[in-house]
Symmetry: C2
């Protein structure tokens, strides 16, 4: 990834203070390259950006229907949520439907996002549980799938170790990811994700293909194509549950609904589907910066690729060029997609 | 900063997941270059890394002596502290000595570091004040200096706006920074820092010179040379107060005492003095990553540049090659100085 282009600059007053390099692939559902910037053939760990692809078996297996999963529960199966009370309640509610409890989740515990939330938990005398983990909804989805795969077996016993690559649950999940991205994951470098499931390194171009397929259904099995549509609709109906208050995924899908499916991943990854263009896209920042680098790039790409009304145009502009304020709320700088990136994205409007 | 070298890699399992580029300058007190990697002539915002240089007038003016500042108070004047109870109490104590209160501080308020601390504040029903701001000790130092500069004038009135470039306090502070780094700051790009004081862009090489001078006294005025020694001794005596629990500055200076003075800055900056070598150094990561990039580089540089006993060698090795664990405490990867950086640092041992 030696010479990927600078895509985002952080300005302080009159000078560039820091900069972020990355790669971007935009492809159609046939795998034809619409736009490639930087090294798009390099395999990267997609982390949480592919949760929607990993959730396909939850729907395709009939598990979502059997347990009457709500839109919020399905959105949370695709989510990196902020551990807000409504997120915690949604995961807990799904587990109750399954006759299970939080202890079955193997994602580990961490504090929710945001100091105000943490202080509020402190005030209530609470400490974090697996329900607060940003992946708890995805794990509840895995557990729900496991309840169907378990058949007549004891659920708790069957589920034990569901995060391991060879467990029947994870084999289904990995098979869905491999099929959507047309990648042989049995030969891919594999790491362990923050929530303990395997994460497979996949070329950026193939990740973009997976999201073109997620957005169009084209190239997926009939079951998975239907599942993809169901998941996208659930997220569009309940975008709070895919991320949370003031989070980019939530904000953008609240505005754009089914016109966009996007999902952030740790270490500077973003994947998205633009169904009306028939395109999928994948972004990876070299330095792994998520909050302020890859989000800016994603906003700039969506801004370039979709025809937008004035309000949506302004929303995307605010997220592709942000004002930076200090602790006294003084304007100190800005975070912006580079002119070179804007120019490179130009053809998307006409593409 | 187009082609600075990769200095740190984040590995996940068998593959590099992310990487960090940067520049490093090591110079002696005459300004002779000992080692330069990447673009060391580029002016960068040093942010909090130069707090010790900005604290020189606090001592040189006689303010520290007049108000009998303790080692902890002096260390905190050079600090980016974690807002732990002992930090808050130290700043509050200094203000009480001056007959002033927290409202005089113009740094703004933010929550302290770490979820456990925030939850504990929530449990006590507390919200953040300027005392919790990581810069509160530096600002209390500015205020203390202002109490001397005010002469017979009303202190509160004199101090108002002390963060502005043209205020007598900030003129003293800026003059000290300019003298130490041998840089004409009247012509330097200037931004506003997180705590609202000006931050001037200074070439990395000149920042390294400032720290060679801080560590040796050479090239400073007699007053500033004495002040530098006083500040370094105070920090070595009270390293907790320059950062806090488990923070790199604190951990390294707890181990190495006066053999090292180091200070992190926002946006991936580190400056340090190695008095026994007569060297100063400055590091800037292109992407502004502080926590996991510039800290690793600093540890690798110190490891290469100082003769160390086995315990200190092991400590520096742990901080220049860190294990990464997930929410279940499973080992998922490592964060490491690159072999190329290690090799480039080799000559420091013999230099």
């Amino acid at each position: 990834m030696s010479f990927n282009p600078v895509m985002v600059q952080a300005w302080r007053g009159p000078a560039v203070e820091s900069e972020h390099r990355g790669a971007l692939a935009v492809v159609d559902a046939d795998g034809a390259l619409v736009l490639g910037l930087g090294d798009i053939e390099r395999a990267i760990f997609p982390r949480s950006a592919v949760k929607a692809l990993q959730a396909l078996p939850l729907v395709a297996s009939g598990a979502a229907e059997r347990f009457a999963l709500s839109d919020a529960e399905l959105a949370q199966a695709c989510a990196s949520h902020g551990g807000e009370p409504a997120h915690v309640a949604t995961t807990a509610g799904l587990l109750t439907k399954l006759g299970l409890e939080a202890e079955v989740l193997e994602c580990g515990a961490h504090w929710p996002r945001g100091e105000a939330q943490i202080a509020a938990m402190g005030a209530r005398g609470e400490t974090p549980t697996a329900l607060h983990n940003n992946c708890s909804g995805k794990h509840a989805g895995f557990v729900c799938l496991g309840c169907v795969l378990a058949g007549e077996a004891d659920r708790r016993q069957f589920l034990r170790g569901y995060v391991e690559p060879e467990h029947p649950v994870m084999r289904e999940v990995t098979a869905a990811l491999a099929a959507a991205t047309a990648t042989d994951l049995s030969r891919a470098p594999v790491g362990i994700d923050g929530c303990s499931i395997p994460t497979y390194a996949i070329p950026l171009r193939q990740l973009a293909l997976g999201f073109a397929r997620l957005g169009t259904g084209q190239g997926l099995s009939t079951d998975h194509a239907q599942a993809a549509q169901r998941l996208r609709r659930a997220v569009a109906a309940q975008p709070f549950h895919v991320a949370g208050t003031n989070r980019l995924d939530t904000v953008l899908m609240q505005a754009l609904g089914e016109r966009l499916f996007c999902k952030v991943g740790a270490e500077g990854v973003y994947c998205a589907a633009l169904p009306e263009r028939g395109w999928g896209l994948a972004i990876k920042m070299d330095d792994g910066n998520t909050a302020r680098a890859v989000e800016v790039v994603l906003a700039a790409v969506v801004q370039a690729a979709l025809p937008l009304n004035d309000a949506d145009q302004a929303l995307l502009q605010r997220h592709s060029e942000l004002s930076l304020r200090n602790w006294n709320q003084r304007l100190v700088g800005r975070l912006a997609a580079t002119p070179a990136l804007r120019q490179a994205l130009g053809p998307l409007a006409r593409g």
